[in-house]
């Protein structure tokens, strides 16, 4: 069974939490005790119908205010796939939570209220999904029951959104007319919209083809931990543990270690104690090498003929998370793969308007929830790829050394120009 991670974003009233509640309920993932609690709570609050949003809004403050504040993770499975939903708030004040949810997603689901059409918020969600290289986008046009299931309304939103999305990068874009409240086209086909011949949302989630999104071409192995048992049974064992970021590593492969530049051969690939033929992307493995070299955490194992960029001056798109604005005079801690360095943001090229895609080159700061293009200089070289090519070696976080807060994230574009 495959795993699909998807992120949802929506505003207070788009019905996102209701949709997730509906997916869980109709795929029989809601348990009786959970449903009873929600029914009881809906009654206590004087609602006319069972408010499925109460299933996902887990914090007291969220239930009180009727909004989603933070990313919540939800799980359901069908016979075809297991799903992890990162359910994120949609408001501009929570852009950082959306970015967080999208960072690990294979697919993004955007909800649009059919009555309101395409609004700034939906555009922002699409821009964020595109920036975070979520390649599959599903747009659910919700509350079709409130517009008499009118095909024209659906077509208009679809056409407007498609036009906007031409400027973004998605490998597939799907539109589905739904009513989350009643379940139309969520798990079963709607009787109310015979004009819609496409798939239901659940069918689409079960069948979206994401396997080809893995990078099998560029072998990258950030060394996470050096295993040295120093025991009688393993006096000389030295294994390099880590998670394959991209590409495939096999015994006998000639590899290069960075920063040293030494080359050697992979002796064995061990998947948590068992020798295997290949270490594939995303798997946690241990490599042993033929020669004993000086390799430690934060080093990168690659192929001599296929190396990542190596350097200290890097261009990136950056999303700012902190209440304290981006400062070009502060040295921050930077974490990239398993490598911890320090760095300074040399310049802010522009701030991106996430609704219009306008680039404001006069911007001097990024404040919380803003996104811009920056050049960063690090104290030590990083071994990196463009984020577009490899998420793991193309991403970093920025940490304030005084408060220890994670203040920003970066998606690498390439060497500074």
């Amino acid at each position: 069974m495959e795993l699909l991670r998807f992120a949802t974003a929506g505003s207070v009233d788009d019905g996102k939490s209701t949709l997730i509640g509906r997916l869980l309920l109709d795929s029989k993932q809601i348990f009786e005790d959970q449903l009873e609690a929600v029914e009881r709570s809906s009654r206590d609050r004087g609602f006319d119908y069972t408010n499925l949003a109460l299933l996902t809004d887990g914090l007291r403050a969220e239930r009180e205010q009727g909004i989603t504040i933070d990313v919540a993770y939800r799980y359901f499975a069908t016979p075809r796939r297991k799903f992890i939903i990162a359910d994120t708030p949609g408001h501009v004040h929570y852009t950082r939570n959306m970015v967080t949810g999208a960072s690990t997603a294979d697919l993004a689901l955007i909800l649009i209220d059919a009555r309101n059409g395409l609004r700034e918020q939906s555009r922002r969600h699409a821009v964020i999904a595109s920036l975070l290289r979520v390649k599959h986008l599903v747009v659910c046009i919700n509350k079709m029951d409130l517009v008499d299931y009118d095909e024209e309304v659906f077509n208009e939103v679809r056409d407007k959104f498609s036009k906007f999305a031409e400027r973004l990068e998605f490998s597939d874009l799907t539109f589905i007319p739904i009513s989350a409240l009643d379940g139309d086209n969520v798990v079963t086909h709607s009787q109310n919209m015979p004009w819609y011949g496409g798939a239901t949302l659940l069918w689409h989630l079960e069948n979206a083809y994401v396997a080809s999104d893995r990078n099998l071409i560029d072998p990258r192995f950030p060394v996470q931990y050096v295993i040295r048992p120093m025991s009688r049974s393993y006096p000389d064992y030295r294994g390099y543990a880590g998670r394959v970021a991209a590409g495939v590593f096999r015994p006998g492969d000639e590899v290069m270690c960075l920063p040293s530049g030494f080359t050697t051969t992979v002796q064995s690939v061990e998947a948590l104690g068992t020798p295997v033929d290949a270490g594939e992307p995303n798997l946690s493995v241990t490599l042993t090498l033929r020669d004993s070299l000086d390799i430690s955490r934060g080093d990168m194992i690659c192929r001599p003929g296929n190396r990542p960029y190596s350097g200290q001056d890097i261009d990136a798109m950056m999303c700012w998370f902190s209440e304290r604005p981006l400062s070009t005079s502060t040295t921050y801690a930077v974490k990239h793969t398993t490598r911890n360095v320090r760095g300074r943001i040399q310049s802010l090229r522009y701030r991106l308007d996430t609704e219009s895609l306008h680039r404001d080159e006069s911007a001097e700061h990024l404040v919380m929830n803003e996104i811009g293009r920056v050049t960063i200089r690090t104290t030590q070289p990083l071994f990196y790829d463009a984020y577009q090519r490899c998420r793991t070696t193309g991403s970093f976080i920025v940490v304030d050394e005084a408060t220890h807060e994670t203040v920003a994230c970066g998606m690498i574009l390439g060497p500074a120009t």
Partner: protein, 300 residues
């Protein structure tokens, strides 16, 4: 048996998190109660560092009200793996006067565990504490990060959590603060059981159906043990039961079951219409926000 890609990915993610903590923290510790989630987590740690030993100790917060089968399993496991076990005892906290025993027949030491846990973290100066919490267990847990910072009082501030992107975890903290780490955040109850089956893991016998004397209280079947005080009208009855979760014996209910093998348990869990906590935990029944409130105080 080959592992499904779903479990292989969850395993790789958990191992990555465990190795990350071992690499970046000076004094990590892994909580180990002998329960199914903590033993899966411990098994992942063993695999993460193979063929070396697990490079940190394990700790059990012992309420003194445990099932004997589970304590026996805990001790055998620790011995087999050559681990260092730290037992933080709620009874000690009560004896020192830092925790006050609840009174009455419904008294439980569940809540007192938090006091003992925080004392043990402070005494041992642990910077990172691994817990086997899963996001599918409960709605407050659904909001938890893999790396969750706790202040000097052990408090969780759900509205002010660090953004957590990709697999770049930020474990920085001030002296006195610590990080709770949840490597199996993304596992569900069914994933745990399928992994136990795939890896052929031994688990405490009380997870399988067995005959046991129980009493019916608050909609649950509570095991009659030396830790449980019977109410005047309660009549113990022998039933065929198993435990879906294993916590303090005074507040963990059994479920009727005839599942005596791991495959039968998987079938039962897959068909279940009630969550594991809803079925078996008195501690989550106080209110809609019972878990959130306890977590804010420093509970796992």
């Amino acid at each position: 048996m080959t592992m499904t890609s779903n479990l292989a990915e969850l395993e790789a993610e958990a191992v990555y998190v465990i190795r990350e903590v071992a690499a970046e923290f000076e004094r990590p510790v892994m909580l180990f109660s002998g329960g199914k989630d903590s033993l899966v987590m411990l098994h992942l740690a063993v695999k993460a560092f193979c063929p070396a030993k697990v490079p940190f100790p394990v700790m059990h917060v012992d309420t003194g009200h445990n099932f004997d089968e589970v304590i026996d399993f805990r001790d055998r496991t620790v011995e087999r793996l050559g681990l260092q076990l730290i037992v933080a005892s709620v009874q000690d906290s009560i004896d020192h006067g830092t925790a006050i025993e609840e009174i009455g027949p419904r008294a439980s030491r569940n809540r007192l565990q938090t006091v003992t846990l925080l004392e043990a973290i402070a005494t041992n100066r642990f910077g990172a504490v691994f817990g086997g919490g899963r996001r599918d267990e409960e709605k407050a847990r659904a909001k938890e990060r893999f790396f969750s910072i706790r202040d000097e009082f052990g408090q969780w501030d759900p509205k002010n959590q660090r953004p957590e992107l990709w697999s770049l975890y930020n474990g920085r903290h001030r002296p006195g603060e610590h990080i709770r780490v949840f490597p199996i955040s993304n596992w569900t109850e069914l994933d745990i059981w399928q992994y136990i089956a795939d890896e052929n893991l031994e688990i405490p016998s009380i997870y399988y159906a067995h005959h046991r004397k129980v009493v019916h209280r608050d909609g649950m079947h509570l095991a009659v043990t030396r830790h449980l005080t019977l109410l005047p009208d309660e009549e113990p009855e022998e039933m065929l039961v198993r435990f879906r979760t294993v916590g303090d014996a005074t507040c963990t209910g059994a479920v009727e079951s005839c599942a005596m093998t791991v495959q039968k348990v998987i079938e039962e869990v897959a068909a279940s219409r009630v969550t594991e906590r809803g079925a078996t935990r008195a501690d989550d029944r106080f209110s809609e926000a019972a878990m959130e409130d306890r977590k804010k105080e420093g509970y796992f």
